[in-house]
């Protein structure tokens, strides 16, 4: 009997009837954006339209976008209940759009606080930004492949990271880590609205073979302390992903005279070694790859040719990595995390509390990059492309 009483007591302590919620009462949030307008936060949420999304074929919009404003994020979200009879359920949120207007330190901390304290969030949703479009337009845009446009975009980001290497799926948990740890600045995937925003919201546009307006993944972007966007091109994005060991299968195209060859990486491992007495960081990489396209004139069966091709590939990767590091130095934003590496391995080298690493530390560091590639000859293209 004591055991039963203990179990019932624990049940009451751990949860209670007050947590009971029917599915019909939930407004399932698929995406959210937060913008700061003067003193107020404006929050847009994309709700999945349960009634309509079950119909076969697209009849009406599968999502509804609701906006709310308030002095706090919580207040802004609750204000939406003036028109929506649902309690908002963010556990399945695909992404959060953080506008550059909320990057001011206190605002961003409030946003992070709002999500980090939510017990029902897995914190694995993506954090993205849009530098060229209005977040509310992105939220209202529909997708041709998935009734849930937000899920579709999150999948786009994940897939392009995995298969192309030029994007990065920044989860909220990593975002928290990058934000609070010294010597590193978060890098956001950047999306934008292609075409007219109003057409993108129109369900009839989806019925066309070629949609006129859609949202697309653009590049990676980071922000300096003044809120200026620093865009990473394809090469820098790839270099960034190589440095952060995010790459699974990246495609790297390099030249052999006037012709090209493409390598699909199979595995890559980058590691940092410090030589801070000489203000130097050594970057050593081991990459395995397969030549997936070979358009050069030389015979690949000759070992010298394969060696030359390998060297060319190594140089190309080195070039990408260097351009990423140079961008960080030039923009004085350490988005690669070199400072974080030093902070964790040699704390005496730089006082991160008193000095600004981005301005005073990063520029003094030289990089010595060593890429060791192991390429396989051209094989068959297996499975999907």
């Amino acid at each position: 009997m004591k055991k039963i009483i203990l179990l019932v007591f624990m049940c009451f302590v751990c949860t209670g009837c007050f947590d009971y919620q029917e599915l019909g009462e939930l407004g399932i949030i698929s995406a959210m954006s937060i913008v700061k307008n003067e003193d107020n936060f404006r929050v847009d949420i994309q709700l999945i339209n349960i009634i309509e999304s079950g119909d076969h074929g697209v009849v009406e919009s599968p999502v509804t976008v609701v906006s709310g404003e308030g002095p706090t994020v919580f207040d802004a979200v609750r204000s939406m209940n003036l028109r929506i009879s649902k309690s908002f359920f963010p556990a399945n949120m695909a992404y959060l759009i953080v506008d550059k207007s909320v990057l001011e330190e206190n605002d961003l901390r409030e946003v992070m606080d709002f999500f980090a304290r939510h017990t029902k969030l897995s914190l694995n949703f993506l954090v993205i930004t849009t530098t060229d479009s209005d977040p509310s337009d992105v939220m209202a845009s529909l997708s041709e492949f998935n009734i849930n446009a937000a899920t579709n975009m999150a999948e786009v980001i994940r897939l392009s990271e995995k298969r192309y290497g030029a994007s990065y799926s920044l989860t909220f948990l990593e975002y928290l880590k990058d934000y609070f740890e010294p010597g590193i600045t978060p890098v956001y995937p950047n999306i934008y609205m292609h075409g007219d925003a109003e057409i993108s919201e129109d369900i009839d546009d989806l019925k066309k073979t070629e949609t006129e307006s859609y949202i697309e993944l653009k590049d990676l972007v980071t922000f300096d302390k003044q809120g200026n966007a620093i865009h990473l091109g394809v090469d820098e994005s790839m270099g960034y992903n190589f440095l952060k060991n995010h790459v699974t299968n990246a495609t790297v195209t390099s030249t052999c005279g006037d012709e090209y060859f493409t390598v699909e990486t199979l595995s890559s491992k980058f590691k940092f070694e410090d030589d801070l007495k000489n203000n130097k960081i050594k970057i050593i990489a081991d990459i395995d790859g397969e030549i997936s396209f070979y358009g050069c004139k030389e015979d690949l069966n000759e070992s010298k040719v394969l060696k030359d091709v390998t060297t060319s590939f190594e140089n190309k990767v080195k070039e990408n990595v260097l351009s990423t590091l140079n961008l960080a130095k030039q923009s004085q934003v350490d988005f690669v995390g070199v400072g974080n590496f030093i902070y964790k391995n040699n704390t005496k080298y730089f006082d991160f509390d008193k000095n600004d690493w981005d301005k005073e530390g990063l520029s003094k560091i030289d990089f010595d990059i060593e890429i060791n590639a192991n390429l396989y000859k051209q094989g068959n293209l297996k499975g999907d492309i």
Binding site: K3, M10, C11, C17, L23, I50, G54, N92, L121
Partner: protein, 478 residues
């Protein structure tokens, strides 16, 4: 005993019980013998052939009438028992047991002329099998003993008989293997049964409330089987079986939790298939108890566990249902219970209409009417079908209880309640003792030597030892 008074009482009784026959037969010139028989429970042919025929002979007279009758029966017809009657209570018991009472002078003797009132050996109704013996116990006590004896032709098979029931005087037999079974177990079963002081016991199933009274659990701690091959297998493992007059099944003691996941057919199939089926049954046990509760918990408290596509799917289905999930679940469960009970009591030739109606009510119509969601139909069906995997009705009953308890806990406390319910289930299972031994043997405590026939099943040729938690004589194959 005064035979005159007894005859007077019998004649009084005859007025209330017309099937009681009292015949007055002239013996010699001056004397009379009285033949008393209850024709409902007696065989008329036996009475005529062995008793009345004797008295119709003109040669009988004098003081040796009864002695000669007894001698004749003992010498020529050994199948008929002779019992001298020395008290009134015994007299009535024998009359209603089908004996013919002969009252002559001051002596009363009884001759067994019992009629065959049972249905004969038939196929097992509640434990149907495809492979293996298809005979089953009947309501005939001797036939049941015979079904066991014909399988175990050993002098070590011991029978202890007791009578239970003040009014019913039911004969109860305790069978065990003298060389295998532990003496304490036999004594424990015997003393439990001897303590019973009730007017009547109708079936061996009634014993469970006297045997398992110490345990606070809904799990069955005794097993009943109507298959003689199962009973003999248990006997050879060192267990005790209890059979009873008028009961078509026997009680097995002790019984452990894992016994309910075994089936007699397991022993007639390849070990791989038997093991696979036992694992299926093991999972079905948890599926039957946990599926509706888990669904209720995640739908009402912990929706974040669900992938978004599944959540949307469930939300769409639940959109048209006006009841809370727990009410919907109980509604469907209750409908299933109605159908289950209805189907169990309906003659097979009328069962088709019930099946069609049940399929329509539980399936399409209920969903179309917006009373339940399709996913709830699937959840309840999975749970219900899983519980039907168990052929033992007692286990089905305990599964039902735990299923509803888990549903209530899940509806009140979500996943936390669900986990607590699961803990409660395990605590309850582990706290049960059957004849002083843990109910969860041989899994908890884990007995390595007994694993060849617990959840897994090895070749019978490799099962060279008996379960060590049942007997000290563990060598099966020498």
């Amino acid at each position: 005993m005064n035979t005159k008074d007894i005859l007077k009482d019998l004649k009084e009784l005859q007025k209330k019980q017309p099937d009681l026959i009292i015949r007055k037969i002239k013996v010699g010139l001056f004397k009379h013998a009285y033949i008393v028989v209850n024709q409902s429970v007696s065989s008329g042919d036996r009475v005529n052939d062995f008793i009345l025929k004797y008295f119709s002979s003109k040669n009988i007279f004098g003081s040796n009438v009864i002695k000669n009758l007894r001698k004749r029966i003992e010498e020529n017809i050994p199948s008929i028992n002779y019992i001298p009657v020395d008290n009134v209570e015994k007299l009535y018991e024998l009359i209603f047991s089908g004996f013919t009472i002969v009252i002559y002078d001051n002596s009363i003797s009884a001759y067994e002329t019992r009629g065959e009132l049972d249905r004969g050996v038939n196929i097992p109704q509640s434990e149907p099998v495809i492979r293996g013996p298809k005979d089953s116990f009947t309501e005939n006590y001797n036939a049941n003993l015979g079904l066991v004896r014909k399988r175990i032709k050993s002098k070590n098979l011991v029978l202890k008989e007791i009578t239970v029931g003040r009014e019913t005087k039911s004969k109860v037999g305790i069978l065990y293997m003298d060389n295998i079974c532990e003496e304490e177990l036999v004594e424990s079963v015997k003393s439990s049964l001897e303590k019973i002081n009730i007017d009547g016991i109708m079936d061996v199933n009634n014993f469970k409330s006297f045997i398992e009274q110490k345990n606070v659990t809904f799990f069955p701690t005794v097993l009943f089987t109507e298959k003689p091959d199962d009973a003999c297998r248990f006997l050879l493992e060192g267990r005790v079986i209890v059979t009873m007059d008028n009961s078509p099944s026997v009680l097995i003691a002790p019984t452990f939790f894992m016994d309910f996941f075994q089936n007699s057919e397991d022993y007639y199939h390849k070990p791989f298939f038997a093991t696979f089926m036992r694992i299926v049954r093991f999972f079905s046990f948890f599926l039957a108890i946990l599926t509706p509760a888990f669904f209720v918990a995640i739908i009402t408290y912990d929706q974040e566990i669900l992938p978004v596509s599944l959540l949307i799917n469930f939300a769409e289905q639940r959109n048209s249902v006006p009841f809370p999930v727990i009410i919907e679940a109980f509604l469907l469960m209750f409908t299933f219970e109605l159908l289950y009970e209805g189907d169990a009591r309906t003659p097979s030739n009328r069962g088709t209409s019930l099946s069609i109606l049940g399929a329509l009510v539980l399936g399409d119509a209920a969903v179309n009417a917006g009373l339940v969601s399709p996913v709830m139909v699937i959840v309840v069906s999975v749970s219900a079908i899983s519980s039907l995997v168990f052929i033992y009705y007692d286990m089905q009953g305990s599964i039902r209880f735990w299923r509803y308890l888990m549903m209530i806990l899940a509806a009140l406390f979500g996943i936390v309640g669900f986990v607590m319910g699961l803990m409660l289930l395990l605590i309850n299972l582990c706290s049960v003792k059957t004849f002083g031994k843990p109910y969860t043997l041989p899994m908890m405590p884990f007995i390595k030597g007994a694993q060849s026939n617990a959840l897994f099943k090895t070749e019978i040729s490799k099962m060279k030892k008996r379960p060590e938690y049942l007997t000290k004589n563990i060598i099966r194959e020498e």
